[in-house]
Symmetry: C2
Subunit: 410 residues, 2 copies
């Protein structure tokens, strides 16, 4: 089984190293998959690499002769063109590239289906936890009523550090030192990475045209210790989440910090753990938890993907679920969901929480809780549609206040 790697960075080297372990070799042998790493496409042949030696190349043409292609380049191009070329040649493709799958998954799945070959990407979301294959094969559970999750480990680590007293910049520096964040962490802090993962989930759930750039996104910049300690006073904490509520008329999406009540399962996780909660059409909540990134966890998943692709078990994956009905839902995901809201209202001259409460009540978002905290007023409102909340934010901003609004998970 000739496997061609596209990219030989941290993940690629971890894949080859893990596959050489005796216990993993026993798995491969038993699955009758005898892997030979025939080539790794790289940009720079001379960059120092500590992983096992693999024939390196800067020429991409060899991929169509391989038995399986493993794409670990990241980003849309040249990954997309190379994956297309492989699939056109009926070579099964494994990828861990969420940008590729989020932005071009529909087209690549369709191509793979036409060519009757495998296009497998279990590591694209919750890299260490196999569940996307289940959703692809099982349309009833995939037709979720709601997805809620923490899908970006860097943001989660940073939020936990800020909760413990660090500044945002200090926490990001520490994440870089520990190898959790890239030198440029914009994809993490802006929510782009989490939005791409949410799009992949939604495609599996039948919202075929959900696009990562369409979801409402609040960057991590709003985070500071005062906001989190204030959330504690109101009985919760702040977590960097994704939410997609797929039940009309409440439907909506959110990518960014949110208020999580202490009794919510997401409140108890920390560090770099990733988690996905799926609410089924029967009303049950199914939760997948585990490492969301990291070379070893990702490598393990990639090797299992190679086995699925090589043994024909990775079969073509269609998105499934409610075909017609979900077009309206997809449109609704451009707006935040109907939810309770945590409002942080900050005014030059400190304001009386009771006056703020009266104003909120007058504009149809009465607070359930309200307090003065660290020079701001913090309020937790009743559930309200985004239109009403937006109107309230405008009213406060017109008075010269700065306002941050975070949805409250239930």
């Amino acid at each position: 089984m000739n496997v061609a790697l596209l990219g030989y960075g941290r993940i690629g080297q971890a894949v080859v190293a893990l596959a050489a372990r005796p216990d993993v070799r026993a798995c491969l042998r038993r699955a009758r998959v005898d892997v030979r790493w025939v080539s790794a496409l790289v940009r720079d042949l001379d960059r120092p690499r500590t992983g096992p030696p693999v024939p390196l190349t800067t020429i991409a043409s060899g991929t169509v002769d391989a038995d399986v292609v493993v794409e670990l380049l990241g980003g849309a191009e040249p990954a997309r063109s190379l994956v297309q070329a492989a699939l056109r040649a009926r070579v099964p493709v494994v990828t861990a590239n969420k940008t590729l799958v989020a932005r071009h998954g529909a087209e690549l799945r369709a191509l793979a289906a036409r060519q009757r070959t495998a296009f497998v990407y279990e590591a694209a979301v919750l890299a260490g936890v196999p569940f996307l294959g289940s959703l692809a094969r099982r349309p009833v559970i995939a037709s979720a009523r709601r997805f809620t999750g923490i899908l970006n480990g860097t943001s989660h680590f940073v939020t936990t550090a800020v909760e413990r007293g660090a500044t945002l910049a200090g926490a990001l520096d520490r994440a870089r030192t520990l190898g959790y964040a890239e030198p440029d962490s914009t994809a993490d802090t802006s929510g782009r990475d989490a939005a791409e993962k949410l799009a992949i989930l939604l495609h599996a759930g039948g919202c075929e045209h959900a696009a990562p750039d369409d979801f409402p996104r609040l960057p991590l910049d709003v985070l500071n210790h005062d906001l989190i300690s204030g959330a504690r006073r109101l009985g919760g904490t702040i977590k960097p989440v994704v939410v997609a509520d797929l039940d009309l008329p409440h439907a909506g999406a959110w990518v960014g910090p949110a208020f999580v009540p202490t009794d919510h399962p997401l409140a108890h996780l920390d560090g770099v753990t990733n988690v996905l909660q799926l609410t089924t059409i029967a009303g049950g909540v199914v939760t997948f938890t585990g490492p969301g990134a990291g070379p070893d966890a990702t490598a393990l998943t990639v090797i299992d993907d190679v086995i699925e692709a090589a043994t024909g078990r990775g079969g073509p994956r269609a998105s499934c679920g409610f075909s017609g009905a979900r077009t309206d839902v997809t449109r609704a995901l451009r707006t935040p969901p109907t939810a309770g809201w945590l409002l942080e209202i900050r005014h030059e001259r400190e304001r009386d929480p009771r006056a703020v409460a009266r104003q909120l009540s007058a504009i149809s978002v009465p607070p359930l809780q309200i307090c003065a905290h660290a020079g701001a007023v913090l309020a937790r409102t009743i559930p309200a549609p985004w239109k009403v909340v937006e109107h309230a934010l405008q009213a406060f901003r017109a008075q010269g206040s700065t306002v941050v609004a975070l949805p409250c998970l239930v």
Copy 2:
């Protein structure tokens, strides 16, 4: 697609009712699976049933003509013979019957593989959470180093109720009233149900000959409020768990109550939630959480199984993982694992904890914590192999004490 049901009790009726919902019908249509419930095998035609009408029969012969058979009888026979007959006729089989899969899974998987037909049982463990199919297809993650879980909802509900002050008998009565427990709850309280589920996991993990009756099992009868409040004093709680530690030389298994430290993820769950933690060979911990039983959650999984079986995606499932090496591991699962232990030592005449501590130290299981609680001495020991713990238990019993030993999760 003619589907024959074997059994038409609560689960069967929930399956047919759920499949009739417009949203589920849309899923089935999209997957090109047009289900017709052609028959349901029952013992008693006249028993009152509230579910949708399905042609009932007491004669089993029709199953070999169906396109898919859904077995929901429970128990080993006649389920085993009927499933064998269907597979021999190359009819794909879906089952939610953990007794059948735990005790005859190897033989039925082999038969299905020979006949190139599907034998699918996603609802047998964590009924509402799809993950067994992933383990069956993905040998590297399936080759776990450890499984830890709460796999029996009834025991979990009862333990939570006892923690809140109920008696064991009172909690069981309440579980029956709420429909969580059968009139005869022996399978739940004895650990038999959880042991069967653990066996299914271990088969997926390459321990093909793990047998549910071989695991060390402690029935729920040892539970009482004093034990749990004592555990609280030592920084944890009691949960009804399964553990299989597959790393020699520490390997071992446990089915029954265990001490769970407060900072352990399993300590935060309650009610009837089920959970499985899988430690991978790369050291990561992957967790699956969700409803472990209940007609609706199980029915949803069964319908997805029917789709997998009908579309050929359910393919034959081999157990995978370390073939040779795991024979020794399987043997080790007849003994509890090396672990820290919570000991409750009760003596007619109340004993001084310091004296007990000295005695424990003298027999190589020094306590990390010890206290007098509700007329007993409670100790949490250092990690020790079962042989040493067993010797300690014998020493205390020889002095006329009654001793309960529970492993401590880490």
